[in-house]
Amino acid sequence: MAESGQTNVLILILATAVTAGTPILYAALGELLAERSGIINLGVEGMMLTGAVCGFMAALAFQNPWAGVVAAMLAGGLVSAIHAFLTVTLRADQVVSGLALTIFGTGLSGFLGKNYVGTPLPAPFSAKPLAGLGDIPVFGPIFFQHDPLVYITYLLVPAMWVFFYKTRPGLHLRAIGENPWAADSLGVPVFLSRYLYVIAGGMLAGLGGAYLSLAYAPSWLENMTAGRGWIAVALVIFAIWNPVRAMVGAYIFGGIDALGFRFQVLGVMVPPFFLKMLPYIFTVLVLIVVIGRNRTARAGSPGALGMAFDREER
């Protein structure tokens, strides 16, 4: 019996790893889109927070979590458009503009959410085990007994992979990130595409934030993302700009996150502060190992990442 009890704890941890990884996954997929087009957006944390608060407010107003999803994506897209305008049209420094977006989003979300702190969400997303798949032993409870937003990622990740590597627009996207001048000379609309992908990335980051406030911990708390936006940025590097690797990575990070919660269950006596440090320390270590061990991490980055596109010079 003791053994099956431990198996259950392990399954519980892995299942939590999936839900804890999902907000990071959405945000990382969004950042992946933007970076593939050549634009670094360090505003992920701010976009997630904006999405989290707007999603929460809309879900509360309409008594429907899907309304929250729509609002979060619109909000995330809207604030990311600022970054797109500054970096694509005005060719401002991408790092500083992203930092500004994070600071702006943190303030904006705190401002909008002030009166919602501590308000419970009556209709959050809840787990809906998938018929059939949910009953598979071990795999069922780990992957198929979650809320709909988790299932959407199961479709989104392969779809994105196919888009990147098997479609013409995907090829154009990679070309823009690799060499916008060449792409431009072939008639690919560089400016328009960069706008599009930065905004799409913002929408996904907003959705990732809303996952926290609508499903993971249905409530609004100031700074509730707690650095997940930054972890998502790191995850993109870890994933070598590949959506499938991003998914694996997100679950590893989710697992570290979940471990913090579950260590007590396992009877490990560690001060909670140290457990909370784990995801951050792990992020730094992963970056060091990934970049240190294989230089492909750098080779895999879009060639023109962080570079403004200017048709008159290069």
Partner: protein, 359 residues
């Protein structure tokens, strides 16, 4: 060819005209305040009243000005620390954590040796606070220098670790047994406190900031090391070609940058709180990034801009009484940085309406 080419056309100016930088910055700040005003108005507040309240609260009385300076001191120090790294295009986003670690190490002195006289206590606190902040910044600098690991993410991640470390101490081993279970360390002895100016909370940390500003100005403009920092910041390949040791400079600059941010933590615990406690900083390390950027990394401008942002912080606290969340200050900070970034374009390019087709 089809597709959008951008709404406007940017033509590069011959050079950045020095005289246009200041007016453009001021214009950018005014525009962001206008934007914030519209936002406040749309969310059902009286923008003029709120701005009035913020301004008079921060600068309208002797008390307001003194509190503004209190908030400006950590911004000055952290901003100066950050500026040194930014000068070399090293994105030290870890000032917040370096401040906390500096505060932790500085606190260790009076908590362990409460009976030291002030002339030993204060220098020891300064030394330890700076050393700890510097070493904390060195942690992400080493993988950056040797492996090229992006320092933005690693410096930022370490902020969370540093804050949790201080939380652990004040909730755990360093909690004052006589503190009614509040998460505070024991109060420091009088010898560990920085002197204050008159009856205000403005402490002598402000002089540290002035001294550091002068030192940084001299380093950057008058020393060979400063020259190297500037060259590497301008163009790493050029610096390498000239035989400069980039690796050593990364380590050194981050060490010094972190040490100055650590000093900001030391002055907070020694000058303001008189003990180690959680929530030492309302995000000084992040605001300082904006301060440094807005000041174009000029150390004396950083001192001035810090006072403005200190005022914004104080104003933000004050308007809470009229139902406006204090986060309005953070939001305005972000907006200011946006507009300044956009405004920079005006100093570098001439904007022509029309599409950016090649002529």
């Amino acid at each position: 060819m089809k597709g959008m080419r951008g709404f406007v056309r940017l033509e590069k100016r011959g050079g950045v005209s020095g005289t246009s930088v200041l007016p453009v910055t001021i214009l950018s700040v005014l525009l962001s305040l206008a934007f914030g005003g519209i936002f406040l108005q749309l969310t059902g507040h009286d923008a003029l009243e709120i701005y009035g309240l913020m301004f008079s609260g921060a600068f309208g009385s002797a008390y307001g000005i003194s509190e503004t300076l209190v908030k400006a001191i950590p911004l000055m120090l952290a901003g100066l620390g950050i500026s040194l790294a930014f000068r070399m295009k090293l994105w030290n986003i870890g000032a917040e954590g370096q401040l906390y670690i500096g505060a932790f190490a500085a606190s260790w002195v009076p908590l362990t040796f409460p009976d030291l006289p002030a002339y030993e206590m204060i220098p020891a606190m300064i030394l330890l606070g700076m050393a700890a902040g510097g070493l904390w910044a060195l942690l992400p600098a080493i993988p950056r220098a040797y492996l090229g690991v992006n320092e933005i993410i690693s410096t930022l991640m370490l902020n969370y670790v540093a804050i949790l470390w201080v939380d652990y101490l004040v909730f755990g081993p360093w909690k004052d047994p006589k503190g009614f279970n509040f998460p505070l360390s024991a109060p420091f002895s009088e010898a560990a406190r920085l002197g204050t100016v008159g009856n205000t909370r403005v402490h002598t940390g402000i002089f540290f900031a002035l001294i550091v500003a002068v030192i940084i100005y001299i380093i950057i403009n008058r020393t060979k090391w400063g020259f190297e920092i500037r060259v590497i910041g301008e163009s790493e390949p050029a610096a390498r070609y000239a035989g400069m040791d980039i690796r050593r400079n990364i380590l050194l600059v981050m060490l010094v940058s972190g040490a100055i941010c650590g000093l900001a933590g030391m002055t907070e615990v020694s000058g303001i709180t008189g003990r180690l406690q959680p929530n030492l900083s309302p995000g000084y390390g992040y605001t300082a990034i904006i301060v440094a950027w807005l000041s174009k990394l000029n150390p004396f401008a950083i001192l001035l801009v810090s006072v403005l942002f200190g005022g914004l912080q104080v104003g933000g606290y004050l308007v809470q009484t009229s139902g406006v969340p204090a986060s309005v200050a953070t939001m305005l900070q972000g907006a200011i940085l946006f507009f300044v970034l956009g405004g920079d374009i005006l100093t570098r390019y001439r904007i022509r309406p029309g599409r950016g087709e090649v002529a």
